[in-house]
Amino acid sequence: MPVLEARNVSKYYQMGAVTVRALDDVSLEVARGEFVAVMGPSGSGKSTLLHLLGGLDEPTSGSIVLAGSELSHQSDNQVTLTRRRKVGFIFQFYNLLPTLTAEENVALPLLIDGQHLAPHRQRIHGLLDMVGLADRGGHRPDQMSGGQQQRVAIARAFVNEPEIVLADEPTGNLDSRSGAAILQLLRRSSQEMQQTIVMVTHDPRAASYADRVIFLKDGQVVQSLPIVYRSGHGEDMARILAVMQQLEL
């Protein structure tokens, strides 16, 4: 049974007299533990899709089922609670609270959920350890590099053991070395922790870390390409590039 399902999802925007079809009848299933990359040129609707999957926005038509619950029939409060407990977000610009330490930033979703942090201490430390920042727990965002900040953001996304992690260009703002480290981290969490991940990217190298790449064009899914992850993954990148060329992306 899929963890995440989009059924005939469309999203239209009204720009003056013109109706813009950001997403047009998109259907998609993501299985537990699967790492899916969404690719497409600017304006293809990939970010819109991610927003809809995470309940940040409502589809014009169609439905989204996240971990068994249908999002479109829920109030803002209910969707927020679903997001809080079942979704982890990773943003391009990290979005850490500048006033909190790394450790506190990781703990933030638990705090928002009104949970006492002591029982989760081990887990928070474990996550910081996993992202290689065990010794930086007391640092504030302005005392860390972009790559380090993004790793804190990843730890934060995992802290409430979400059903799914949604990442929007997580490496878009990082140098290639930091970017590769982040992608390996995501890959490992998917393999070792059976973490489901949907990542939007326009970087074929980033996409090659996934199990499957979905290509969007003009608001529609035009191809779904399975990837067999290998450590070198030059071959996968070549396949991705070939599809992009073929689809004129």
Partner: protein
Amino acid sequence: MSSSKETLLFRLSRLAVAMPLLLALRNMATRWVRTVLTMLGIVVGVAAMVSVNVTNGSTLNSINRFFDEAAGQSDLLVESETSGGFDQALADVVRRTPGVVALAPAYIGVTIPSAEAQDWQVQFGGGGQIVPGSQFWLMGIDPEMDPQVHEYKLTAGELLPPGETGYRVVLVESYAAEKGIEVGEDLELLIPGGAARLRVVGLIAKEGIGVANEGVIGFAPLPAAQELFAAADTLSQIEIVAETEIAGSSDDLEALRQTLADRLGPEVQVKYPASRGQLVANSLQNYRLGLGFFSVVSLFVGSFLIYNAFAMTIVERTREIGMMRAIGTTQWQIVGLVMSEAALVGVLGSLLGVGAGLLLARGLIVFMAAFTRQAIEIVAAQPGDLLQAVGVGVLVTLAAAFVPAFQAARISPLQALRVQGSVNEARWLQVGLKFGPLTVLLSLLILYRVPFRPEVAYVVGSNTIFLLLLGATLCIPIVASLLERLFRPLIIFLFGSEGRLGSSNINRAKGRTTLTVAALMVGISMVVGISGLTQSFKADLGNWVETAVGGDLYVRSPMTMRPELENRLLALDGVAAVTKAGYVATRIVLSDGQDLFTLFAAIDPETYLQVAGIQIEEGPPAAAAIQQLAAGGSLLISATIAEQYDLTVGDSLTLDTRRGQQTFRVAGVIVDFTGAELPVVTGSWDDLRRYYGVNSVDRFTVTLAPGTSAGDVSERIKTQVGRGMSLSVESQADFQAKVLEVSESAFALFDVLSLIGLVVAGLGVINTMLMNVLERTRELGGLRSLGMTQTQVRRMILAEAAAMGLIGAVFGVAFGVVLVGVFITGLRELGGFALTPQTPTQAMVVAFCLALLLALVAAWYPAVRAGKVNIIAAIKNE
């Protein structure tokens, strides 16, 4: 994991309520400059409120305590209807009345020590009364009975022994020390027709009865005092102690008061001792209301600052809040987060404000004491009042943060994914267009077209001014860009080409600009409004002194003067005309049976117009009005009375006179500042004699012959006529200066409050400009990378502030002019003062420059910060 120490956030995470508070605390600490500025807005507002409350409370307390202490144990007070006193035989009637346990009959002669006669002048206080302590009271008492009612604390010598009737006196220690008089020495006092010496037998502390007349009082045997002042068998007052059970029950005491009033007849009034303090307190009522109003305005402007600060921090944190929403924070949690911060800032700011207010009160009380000419002791503010001030401060903060909190909650989680936070600036214009002019129109209609009952006029009026303020604020976004374009050439002239960039920048964050301009508007309008009121007051007062008081010289004496003196004055070289005036206290009997304390001012119709004029508000011309007075039974009433009791020419007015109730016809309504807030009726000299049995003059007004020097004539009056009579001669200019001085000290307090308004406005500018700089860090870095120098950046920021200052000045001056009108209408409705509004042109120009200066000074720090933006960091700043 190396971080072994747990942060507070971790430790307190168990408490659900702790999360928003701790996050708020972190945010406040990180953005401490903003926090401090926001808090200062609350501090200043609450401080203004607390200081005015403490000042008003202390003033009232001092007045009441003063009268209470002087009244001793007495429960009731018998006083004459008029200043002339009453028959001593009434004391026996009181003594025989069941329920009375003790009584203190007294005669009070008002005079001065002979030694001071040379340069004595009467001093007027704020309420129009003569300043306590400027004249000496010789109180004739019964040495046996008086200590049963009053407390005498002997510090030297002895009290008057029972049965004493000689020329002996007990003084207050502080007064004796000031005058260098010791026990065993003589005190020489002026008395009608000469001087008299009294042997000082004892001194008492300035406590109990010793506080009366600020301690400038002496206690002599009753017969001696009566003899000295040619007032045989006359009493000024009887203070009465009732039986304990009667005194303990207000109903029984009222019954006793009624019985006494019936038995004693119409010549006297039986009242509660506290009513004396009440009279003084009432005369300050409007003044205290005005102060209260302005203190609330400060807090109101403070709320703009708070709103602005919170709205700004929300914009700044849009991405942060968007992220929090994205990871599962509900809308209510966001509201809770912002409101927690508001609550923290509110509580801290209000507490500091209370402290600052208590300090400020010490300063204000100095002004108040100068105004009321009364020693005011600062009272410890009631904990309840302080708690209330904290409560109001917190509430205002929460109210001001409410809208930003909801705006924050409405931030879509999608905002987290965008680069920059943004606000819908067009909304300000829409709301402004929709409600601005309408609100202004509505509040002006309410202020000028809707009549309110006097008891609600203050509440409705002051709230409508707030409504007007709100309306004017809403109008700002409509005209701000127009005004900006208008002022742009000036800004470019002042700041060069950077001026153009800076000036047009104010159109970018409309909401922020609007509220900053609004804060400036309020501060400036307070300056203009108060100046306009002061100027109108002074102009009318000046006019009144010149025309109604008239004359060139005023001749007074600490003792009563005989009317015959007029001929001797007229015979002097250089004197062209003389007229006499006399005053008695009386009561107006109102149709509902209530009565009203008033002053009967008697003028001499025969000579009056040769010396002075009358400013007629309503009625026949001055000459005809005076003629009607001469015929008797007519009065001219002050506009205060006409307004308050709805009287007009031709109506009748009943006065309680020595010959019973007499009905007079209102011959005219005149401008009269004689009694300040005490109502005054003007009648003829003959009526004074006829109805009040008074034939003594309080003041002669002298007109000089052309080409005569006032100084020479003064000298002649003193040496040729006044020998042995201690006449004081004052020129019109001196009198006018003195009267104006009193009114100036009255308005000084308001000046302090408008200064507070300006401080809040300045804080608003600092806050806004800092925020603008912060928000445009990237842009500033860009400009610097393109080659803009630090000085140019500074100039650009200052130009933006200058544009805001100029727009604030336009709104402030315009609103200030409206305020002048509203204040004057309010004074007429509440206090009965009919002032002619003056346009405070000079104050308007000063205020205009002040607004510009204030904006520039306040923007200095943000401008310097903008200049120092790190170019690399700024352009990297996403």
